[in-house]
Amino acid sequence: MKALLKHRETQLVAVILAMVGLIALRFPSFVAPASLGNVFNDTSILIILALGQMTVILTKCVDLSTAATLALSGMVAAMLNNLYPDLPVLLLVVVAILTGVLAGAINGLLVWRLDIPPIVVTLGTMTIYRGIIFLISDGKWINAHEMTDAFKAVPRADFLGIPVLSWMALSVTAIMAVLLRRLATGRAFYAVGGNPHAAVYTGIDVGYTRFLSFVLSGALSGLAGYLWIARYAVAYVDIALGFELDVVAACVIGGISIAGGIGTVFGAVLGSLFLGTIKNALPVINISPFWQLAISGSVIILAVAFNARAERRKGRVILKKAEVVA
């Protein structure tokens, strides 16, 4: 199975490279190192969110409230920055993450304690969190000049030639890779999604593990919330509206199985980069906006079709072996 997954990721790398090559034919400077770095930087927030979403999907759940959590955490940080410009930015980042943790914990508790299907829970909290933003902000925008320069500077700041925003995505990727591969909690995410009944017999608390995955997703959404608001230098109710679909799509394209238990950090990152490349390339190669939507949509359906095929093939192999034995 591991070989199969590896196979899928190499496939995805090949597809992304081929795509970049095609774009380069029409628009050569797209492959300049600075331009590619820019694509990665632009995709950083999607990567962070996709890694959070991935842990949730691994446990056979889904978090549709991730974009709303992002917007809420970002708005909280932006409002604090606006009201108390003297607060250190690091504290505001922590506040944003904690807001995300709280939002994630509410999702997790509803799924764990009340046993409500996660899609229903997060569909509800998605609108609730947006509503809260409206209540606290009164529907008003926090604009560029109402935030301090230090607050806006962090994602753009240069460290060893790479913007901090990209570093954030890289470090979250590294931490998640260690967590999901080496730590017991990380393995539990796979176990719970792969076979919940077996997980119970190995002493894993399925509900609690799901709760943890929601909290983790919330925390990463909170971090992404700060980064988003600081990067685009504007906060309002509809920030990142509908972005949760991009996040789920990135996971699906990256080979994270919606059925749970299957997927890698590398896959989620590649899935995000795939979408990020498309998003950045379509504007420069001058394609009609109507085609842009159609292309993005077809790519997602193709990816899901590939996923379904990959999972089905696994079943066939077992059958063949059984026939040989018989």
């Binding site: 628009f27 604009n143 560029a144």
Partner: protein, 330 residues
């Protein structure tokens, strides 16, 4: 309508009544807004007061419901009818719901006009639009051209590709293009009124058109995102972001130089013009009918179309000189 609101409206009207006792012969013009406490409408009231001062024999009753509902406005209209104001100038919360109440007012001899947000033709004598599509399209290109004496490449960042108002303005921009020598519109891209997509599209424009000199974004989300993208790309001074935006949202980007100027209606002028028109209707000097030309004091004249609608003026241009002042208003 809650008790509190009733008390508030009554209080507002009785204050106005007491004020009227002092100048019994003054014309009473009611400026009815969507809701009280909104900066945009407070600014319109400022303009109305300016007009009243200029005219001398006018009292402005600035009123409206406490939230943006048609029911609230109907109550306000009924109270105004009861206290026999001379004119009602209204920015409507609902195009049709107010018609019966306003019809009743007109039957009692009250002159009724709508401004900003219109009422259906049978419920008012005329409607004053802040601007018109051709004027908006022209202003967008003009603001870009004013900063490009030598001409240059210009791109449009719109909202959704299906947004009717955006497409109309873009069409109008293309129509006036021959009047601006050397200005080429090289691309039209769509940011869907989403910050992230607009930002990425603006980045794409800068990559795809190295000679780009200006981005016109006739959408408040797009113009802010484009200004940020230009700032982040270090292109401030090389690429000018302009279009339609709100002063409070654009103040920072004008200060940074990413946007030299942008436009939107001026609420002060709008309140002023609505008051002037109402006054001229009350005194019988002018009549609101299709094809008529009504004077608006310092704002010039407005010509009414077949629906008795007219456009006040060019969108008002905001730049480094005045943006701070208006950012406090809306």
């Amino acid at each position: 309508m809650g008790l509190l609101k009733k008390v508030l409206v009554t209080a507002a009207i009785s204050t106005a009544l007491i004020a009227n006792v002092a100048h019994a012969e003054n014309k009473k013009i009611a400026l009815v807004v969507k809701a009280l406490g909104i900066g945009f409408f407070d600014a319109a009231n400022k303009g109305a007061q300016e007009a009243a001062k200029e005219l001398g024999d006018v009292d402005i009753i600035y009123t409206g419901p406490t939230d943006t509902t048609a029911e609230g406005q109907i109550e306000v209209i009924n109270s105004l009818v009861a206290q026999k104001v001379d004119a009602i100038a209204i920015s409507a919360n609902d195009k049709d719901a107010l018609v019966p109440a306003l019809k009743k007012a007109m039957e009692r001899g009250i002159k009724v006009i709508s401004w900003d947000s219109g009422v259906a033709p049978e419920g008012r004598m005329m409607h004053l639009n802040p601007s018109s599509n051709p004027l908006i399209g022209n202003m967008c290109v003009k603001m870009a051209a004013d900063n490009l004496p030598e001409g240059g490449d210009v791109a449009i960042l719109s909202a959704a590709a299906t947004a009717t108002n955006q497409n109309t303005w873009i069409e109008e921009m293309k129509k006036v293009l021959p009047n601006y020598k050397g200005i080429n519109i090289v691309a039209t891209v769509y940011g869907d009124d989403k910050t992230d997509k607009s930002y990425t599209e603006a980045q794409g424009l800068m990559k795809a058109y190295p000679n780009l000199k200006a981005i016109i974004a006739p959408t408040s989300v797009g113009i802010v995102a484009a200004a940020q993208a230009v700032t982040d790309a270090g292109m401030v001074g090389k690429i000018n972001v302009t279009g339609l935006g709100l002063p409070s949202e654009m103040a920072g980007h004008v200060k940074s130089g990413a946007s030299k100027s942008f436009a939107i209606w001026n609420p002060i002028d709008l309140g002023y013009a609505a008051t002037m028109i109402s006054y001229n209707l009350v005194t019988g000097k002018e009549e609101a009918k299709p094809g008529a030309e009504l004077s608006m004091g310092r704002m010039g004249k407005v010509k009414l179309d077949d629906n008795s609608e007219g456009a006040m003026a060019d969108p008002f241009v905001y730049d480094a000189k005045n943006v701070e002042e208006f950012a406090k208003i809306f």
